[in-house]
């Protein structure tokens, strides 16, 4: 590794601390768009150093907005975001740019995430240029990064259109790594790619995390990928986190009926012993502009039907609660696991 890497590494090590402390924290985060859409509606979230937090949910649930708000690309309309204890949601202009240097993002679309008029080397070197690194050091660092993501130095002078989708995503990853970030927000980084290429990118991200001690927020709608990547999983529904737990716990015994339905929709091998019929959710999510009183999942909730539509579901908006690290926003969370097996009986 180059001297530059060491330098930046040292500064981050001084600022940072032991593995496992909070690196990024969202408090009561709200993003309400001008149209009244509550894309993010009261999210509290702590992300710990070195972990991978998976964020899953269906299209339009606000997971991408959450990702963009966590790095202040989207200004929250309420609540705060703190990076390494610094309240970046209160900052603006150059102080914000300075403060969030250790936060980077990998984007979904490998086509629109790279400037078509710039060569791969310029794209990857841009964060270094902005950090004031001189040209020579920049070049050697970019070549290093190109090797790190298995593109090779030969890619330096090529334009994005000369690369395949998977290679483009590697370039996007290399760019996000250029300034030695501590945490990377991956916004559906593999959903635009072929399945075979997805695996390569996931493996690359995992190996980079080990090598560089990175923290990931991994946003995806693909449960299989999240299961492979994440230590902890947050399930989002209509701008809220409805369940938050360690990955193995959530996949083994979900505590929210929505999570149970999502899990049942993952295709399985026919020989799998845990074969279950998918739980189907009737209708669409309610409009994020006009939410019903009580639980926002009530209209589509299979568990509520099963329990004979208890009044509390339409009266009280459930907050995240539960034993230990496994939290769910459901009044009847202790029934979910037992009932989902009996769903089709």
């Amino acid at each position: 590794m180059s001297e530059l890497l060491k330098q930046i590494g040292e500064t981050t090590n001084n600022a940072g601390a032991r593995l496992g402390d909070t690196i990024l924290e969202a408090r009561d985060l709200h993003v309400i768009f001008g149209t009244g859409v509550r894309a993010v509606d009261g999210i509290n979230l702590k992300i710990y150093r070195g972990e991978t937090l998976g964020v899953v949910g269906e299209s339009g649930c606000g997971k991408s907005t959450l990702g963009r708000t966590l790095c202040m690309l989207e200004a929250p309309t309420g609540g705060s975001v703190a990076l390494n204890g610094l309240p970046i949601s209160d900052m603006k202009g150059s102080s914000l740019r300075e403060a969030r240097k250790s936060l980077q993002m990998v984007f979904q679309d490998p086509y629109s995430s790279l400037d078509p008029r710039q060569r791969a080397g310029e794209i990857i070197g841009e964060p270094l240029l902005l950090a004031g690194v001189d040209k020579k050091q920049r070049q050697s660092r970019v070549n290093e990064l190109l090797d790190l993501v298995s593109i090779g130095a030969s890619g330096y002078a090529k334009f994005p259109r000369e690369f395949s989708g998977g290679q483009r995503q590697r370039i996007g990853i290399a760019r996000s790594l250029a300034a030695n970030p501590e945490i990377i927000i991956c916004d559906e980084p593999v959903s635009a790619l072929d399945v075979s290429v997805q695996a390569q990118i996931v493996n690359l991200l995992v190996s980079l995390q080990r090598k560089l001690n990175l923290t990931y927020v991994f946003i995806s709608h693909d449960l299989a990928v999240v299961r492979q990547m994440a230590n902890r999983v947050a399930v989002m529904y209509l701008g809220r986190i409805v369940e938050l737990a360690d990955a193995d716990k959530i996949f083994a015994a979900p505590r929210h009926p929505y999570t149970a339905a999502l899990l049942s929709a993952v295709p399985r091998m026919l020989t799998s012993s845990a074969k279950r019929k998918p739980i189907s959710l009737p209708g669409d999510p309610p409009s994020p502009m006009h939410l019903p009183p009580g639980c926002r999942f009530q209209a589509r909730c299979w568990l509520r039907q099963k329990l004979g539509s208890p009044d509390v579901c339409s009266a009280v908006d459930p907050m995240l609660s539960g034993t230990g690290d496994h939290q769910a926003a459901c009044h009847f969370q202790e029934h979910v696991d037992a009932q989902r097996g009996a769903q089709n009986a």
Binding site: Q104, F107, Q108, R117
Partner: protein, 312 residues
């Protein structure tokens, strides 16, 4: 899409290949080159554009005067060449000015959005509400009225410039004022699309300021539409200049311009058609050629038109 070795892709000029596959483009470029050459060599032509020869008025094309003479016996070829100079210089300079104003307004409005955008675009909209030519006549009238008076105040250098250029400067101002609207709209629309591109988000995350993002990412990617916009503006400026001169609010006589020549040709259209047809054909073919070249440029710059295999 074929992946082309990078040396072939950009280094080698693209034009020869495109021209070979498009004879129309070759003709258009050749014609424009001819016009420019004629305009540039106007002083070397055998006749002076201003010298009257009242004995040979309205003479049809002959060996002496290839394009004939006008109602004052002046050589039509010489006048057409000087007219080309006037038309092209005014059209190109005012296009450059209009594009610059358009980029500035469009980029700021599109990038900043919010009330700045509203103010800028409502202003553009209200300017648009005037019919193009009418608006140009209005401005030309005001400019001409203001500038032809001898004033000693703030405007005096502009007035001097106006008088020195035989009214050309007034036409330049008029065209710049009217043509930037199109540009501002096109650039704004493009900037709105580009500012939400993920590479812009990536640059901002990496610590880029608005200015950096604008200079490095947004404006370079706007270049294709800017060039296309310019190829719209140049012919419309030529046409507008011709229209203004036709109506008598353009360049001052005796300076020839294509529009003024058409205007005087119309008067004797039935007896001496060559006085009308020659400048009219010059205007028509020039506009057609610029449009053809503009289309080719758009194809060149628009990635969705670009075929990778073509260059190899």
């Amino acid at each position: 899409m074929t992946i082309v070795p990078s040396t072939q892709r950009r280094g080698v000029s693209l034009l020869p290949t495109s021209i070979r596959s498009k004879p129309g483009l070759a003709v258009a470029i050749a014609f424009l080159v001819l016009i420019v050459v004629v305009a540039a060599s106007a002083s070397f032509l055998p006749y002076d554009a201003y010298r009257q020869d009242l004995l040979h008025r309205n003479s049809p094309p002959s060996w002496n005067h290839i394009l004939g003479t006008d109602e004052l016996g002046r050589d039509m070829l010489a006048r057409l060449a000087i007219g080309a100079r006037v038309s092209l210089v005014v059209a190109v300079t005012s296009t450059v000015a209009a594009v610059l104003i358009g980029i500035a307004v469009g980029a700021i409005a599109g990038y900043k959005r919010g009330w700045i955008d509203s103010v800028c675009m409502r202003f553009v909209d209200s300017m648009y509400a005037f019919p193009d030519t009418l608006f140009a006549i209005l401005i030309a009238g005001v400019v001409k009225g203001q500038l032809s008076q001898s004033s000693t105040d703030f405007f005096s250098p502009i007035t001097a410039l106006y008088k020195m250029s035989g009214g050309l400067f007034g036409v330049f101002l008029t065209l710049s004022f009217t043509s930037w609207l199109v540009c501002a709209r096109i650039v704004r629309a493009e900037v709105i699309i580009l500012r939400s591109a993920e590479y812009v988000a990536a640059a901002r995350l990496a610590g880029a300021s608005d200015l950096f993002v604008m200079r490095r990412h947004i404006l370079p990617n706007c270049l294709p539409v800017i060039i296309v916009a310019a190829t719209f503006v140049v012919p419309s400026a030529i046409l507008l200049e011709a229209g203004l001169s036709f109506l008598g609010v353009g360049v001052d006589p005796p300076t020839p311009s294509w529009g003024a020549m058409i205007a005087s040709g119309v008067r004797s259209m039935q007896s001496y058609p060559h006085l009308l047809i020659t400048p009219a054909i010059a205007v028509g073919l020039t506009l057609l050629s610029i449009n053809v070249v503009g289309d080719a440029l758009r194809e060149h710059f628009d990635p969705s038109f670009r075929r990778g295999g073509e260059a190899s």
